[in-house]
């Protein structure tokens, strides 16, 4: 009976609390309890989420492990394909450019990928592909250099800025000279008579007087230097080719 009386007291107390809370008289209780409840709930929730994550990882560990391995392989494959795709795309652009270049249709080309750039440009075609020394190497209709050394499947290209390079050239105005390298990796048009005009931005082409085909673009005049006591004057040329970004070049194997 005592417990029943207690029960009634607690029931009445509960109803009083309900009424008080209904009329929002117990805001301080909620405020105080929130300060305790929120950290507890946050902690429990974070733990539960971590446990759930752990459970998921544990339950699916073989699958996840396989997926990670597969992902690694696919990523590697993707990167390889991306590289291959980039290389092919560039090669395609080059081929299109080469096809559209105003070179005689009688020219035959050997497509060569660049293996290294040092003093010489090393390319991946050699005597097996019909490459011989002195053959011109072009990108589009722009002359890059000439073959210096040939092995069975590799060749070295002497660039125009090499000190040993020597190519017979002419400007767009018909002024003749010799293109070669100069200390400091610049390309120089030299052996130009003082009376001949050298105008800035004039294009310079091969003249065809040596073994090279005529009218291959070499570059354009960037700076002219002359003095009155010399017989010849010279000009520094700039080439449109950026060797660092080159991946494919073409060797003209037959004219």
């Amino acid at each position: 009976m005592i417990s029943s009386a207690k029960l009634q007291v607690f029931l009445i107390l509960s109803f009083v609390i309900i009424i008080a809370d209904y009329f929002q008289m117990l805001g301080f209780v909620h405020g105080a309890s929130d300060r305790v409840i929120i950290p507890i709930k946050q902690g429990i929730r974070n733990t539960a989420v971590s446990m759930e994550l752990f459970r998921t990882v544990y339950a699916r560990f073989p699958e996840i492990s396989n997926t990670i391995e597969e992902n690694k392989i696919l990523r590697q494959s993707f990167e390889e394909l991306q590289l291959e795709s980039g290389r092919l795309r560039e090669e395609n652009i080059k081929l299109r450019k080469q096809l559209e270049s105003p070179l005689p249709p009688s020219f035959h080309f050997a497509v060569a990928s660049i293996l290294a750039v040092s003093r010489y440009l090393e390319i991946g075609v050699g005597s097996a592909e019909g490459v011989k020394e002195k053959m011109p190497v072009v990108d589009g209709n722009t002359l890059i250099g000439t073959i210096a050394f040939v092995s069975r499947h590799r060749s070295s290209v002497m660039l125009l800025n090499d000190l040993d390079a020597k190519v017979a050239a002419k400007t767009a105005r018909g002024v003749r000279g010799t293109v070669g390298g100069q200390t400091g990796s610049s390309i120089v048009l030299s052996n130009v008579l003082q009376k001949d005009p050298l105008i800035l931005d004039d294009q310079v082409f091969t003249s065809g007087e040596d073994d090279l085909p005529p009218d291959l673009l070499i570059g354009k005049i960037a700076r002219v230097s002359s003095d009155d006591v010399s017989v010849y004057k010279q000009a520094i040329l700039t080439t449109p080719i950026a060797f660092d970004n080159l991946h494919t070049v073409f060797v003209i194997t037959s004219l």
Binding site: S4, L7, I17, I40
Partner: protein, 142 residues
């Protein structure tokens, strides 16, 4: 032993209001109502308040519900103590189902089953470890 009950109830309240809407507090309270047979009504009162605070119900409603459960357990204690164990299971199930229906507006069989099972197993555990107040018919005056 009272601390063990309190900790169990606290864990149940936190679990129910934080992790999953399983009416496990009501199940455990129904079990304690059977164990205490109307004694210690303050446990039901305070658990109800705690439950209301954690679940943001109107303060006091949980207390009323749980005190009513306690009163029913006291009212039919003879039947629960001396009758078939099925009565106890049915009592716990009814309390859990009612709470679920009132507060969650749904009865999910899986949650219901889990709550009843946990409560019943906890009751068995208490019976085995604490000299079994549950089956202490001396308190019934018979």
């Amino acid at each position: 032993m009272i601390w063990f009950y309190t900790i169990c109830l606290f864990i149940a309240v936190v679990f129910e209001t934080t992790i999953a809407p399983v009416p496990i507090t009501a199940g455990i309270l129904a079990l304690f109502a059977l164990v205490f047979a109307g004694e210690n009504p303050w446990i039901f009162f305070l658990t109800g308040l705690m439950w209301d605070l954690f679940s943001m119900h109107l303060l006091g409603t949980g207390s009323v519900l749980f005190l009513i459960v306690s009163w029913i357990a006291q009212r039919y204690k003879r039947k629960f103590y001396l009758g078939n164990m099925l009565y106890q299971i049915i009592f716990i199930s009814v309390v859990v189902a009612s709470t679920s229906l009132i507060y969650y507006r749904t009865i999910q069989p899986a949650y219901l089953g889990a709550s009843v099972l946990v409560s019943f197993l906890l009751g068995r555990l208490i019976t085995m470890t604490s000299g079994s107040r549950w089956e202490d018919t001396g308190r019934l005056g018979i």
